[in-house]
């Protein structure tokens, strides 16, 4: 580390201070580089986030999630074009999966956003999920924070939904739009995937395809069920025990992110013709208004802040722990003992924890 600059108790390298200055000056390459630093957790990334997040969240954050090919990118492009026409500055984060075989990724979301490619009022960044299991790269929320700090009015976060784990989108967005298509299965599958908990708005895209009306109907019924109004009328022996499914869902749900007084709309769109897109944007804005006026925005931001602090503490603790040679030696020794049947992973872990917390 060269002669550093002190900032709020953290020492920053000259290179980082210079980057931050260009970032604050609104220089796009500085934002792009800051994202790379945070995404790769390069040295100093936490100091950078600390500086950039100092003024608190301001941008409206809208997440789009759903199965591959559902039309998320097409809808994001349509939304971005409308917001741009209204003069908003827009940041887009589009996440696609990392190949588990090569560790590489083919990120193709920009293909749908080419009309916006040279518009200086929009910044588009593609991300790979890298090590993360969820549909979201582990650092997507941090990248959203950087974009927020850069001064965009609105952020659009696209993530590929891969079943159970896409709940992470709620960590990056205030309003979550779940995009489904008739081909993506029935509403029961959506329920199983935990989508009922995270959706603030449901969109059945490709409304030009057969089956969309059926899916809309099923989703509305499922939402109705979830709101509890239909449960008491359905006896448990009626084939599927829907009440039990709903209860199990409620237990699994992290924080209750869709309180009952927001009626989740189910809309249809055709991203190719833009049919239904104005209604979708209207619903998003209504949700944002509801969040702001009902105090929910503050609740969500507080939840996010709590999770973030816990994440950082957990990560730093674990990093500290495995940095110590004593601990890695204890691990090696423990593995030997486990393989001889003298210990279990739990007794070894307990021993390591005891030595750390001493």
């Amino acid at each position: 580390m060269t002669a550093g600059r002190r900032a709020a108790g953290m020492v920053m390298t000259d290179a980082m201070a210079d980057l931050l200055e260009r970032f604050r000056d609104g220089q796009v390459p500085a934002l792009a580089r800051a994202i790379s630093i945070v995404e790769s957790e390069r040295a100093g990334f936490q100091d950078l986030l600390h500086e950039v997040m100092a003024r608190g969240p301001r941008a409206k954050r809208v997440g789009f999630t759903g199965p591959p090919g559902a039309g998320k990118s097409s809808l994001v492009a349509a939304a971005a074009a409308t917001y741009r026409a209204a003069g908003e500055h827009i940041g887009v984060v589009a996440v696609d999966p990392t190949s588990p075989y090569s560790g590489g990724a083919l990120l193709g979301d920009r293909i749908r956003m080419n009309d916006l490619a040279t518009d200086a009022g929009i910044f588009i960044r593609s991300m790979a999920t890298r090590g993360s299991l969820g549909g979201l790269a582990t650092t997507t929320k941090e990248v959203a924070d950087l974009m927020d700090g850069f001064g965009f009015d609105r952020l659009l976060v696209e993530t590929v939904g891969v079943g159970q784990t896409e709940l992470e989108i709620t960590a990056a967005a205030d309003t979550v739009v779940v995009v489904l298509v008739p081909e993506s299965g029935d509403a029961i599958q959506a329920m199983k995937a935990g989508l009922m908990e995270i959706a603030d708005v449901f969109v059945v895209n490709k409304a030009d395809r057969p089956g969309s009306a059926r899916l809309v109907k099923e989703l509305r019924q499922a939402l109705h069920l979830r709101a509890g109004s239909a449960l008491k009328d359905i006896p448990a022996h009626h084939g599927v025990d829907l009440a039990r499914i709903a209860k199990k869902e409620a237990r699994n749900a992290a924080p209750p992110v869709s309180p009952a007084d927001w009626a989740v709309p189910v809309l249809t769109t055709n991203a190719l013709t833009q049919d239904g897109v104005p209604e979708l944007l209207e619903a998003i804005d209504q949700h944002l208004t509801w969040l702001e006026h009902g105090g929910q925005l503050d609740v969500r931001r507080r939840d996010r802040a709590r999770v973030r602090v816990r994440d950082v503490v957990a990560r730093e603790l674990s990093r500290e722990a495995w940095k110590s040679e004593e601990v890695t030696a204890a691990l090696d020794l423990g593995v030997d003992r486990i393989s001889k049947g003298e210990e279990t992973p739990y007794s070894v872990a307990r021993g390591i924890l005891a030595s750390l917390l001493r």
Binding site: A32, G103, R110, I124, S126, R319
Partner: protein, 137 residues
């Protein structure tokens, strides 16, 4: 902490011709080599390519040029990259490009250009080699 740094590469298909097979093949090969590949589709203008390269903070831009316009496209993208402060980005690519032109473009600061039929492994080795040299310098 991910110590190993991923190579980010933009695969771009400029020009009016509608042949993106080559670009898609190389994009998949780069992914299989562990790179993060940003693919933007057909008909990219130099301005679009450079805007994407800057926003995506890529290490490398690889262009597939089959139209014969390589002597204008490569220098134009290079100039725009330099103007955008992205002069550290490696600009490379492929297409039907005569030897003399390859040499001339290389003289103007453009990286290696690969002819049709070059095995994808050659391009991958080239990018990996360039990247490793960058890291140590």
């Amino acid at each position: 902490m991910s110590d190993e740094r991923k190579i980010r590469i933009l695969v771009a298909k400029p020009g009016l011709d509608g042949h993106d097979r080559g670009a898609k093949v190389i994009a998949s090969a780069f992914r299989d080599a562990g790179f993060e590949v940003i693919y933007t589709g057909l008909h990219q203008t130099p301005e679009m390519i450079v805007a994407a390269a800057v926003q995506e903070d890529v290490d490398v831009v690889a262009m597939s040029v089959l139209s014969g316009a390589h002597m204008t496209l490569f220098p134009r993208v290079k100039k725009l990259l330099d103007e955008a402060g992205a002069d550290q980005v490696l600009l490379t690519g492929g297409g039907i490009i005569p030897e003399d032109d390859v040499a001339e473009l290389e003289r103007r600061g453009i990286g290696r250009l690969f002819g049709p039929g070059t095995p994808t492994t050659t391009a991958i080795e080239y990018v990996n080699g360039w990247f490793a040299a960058q890291q140590t310098s």
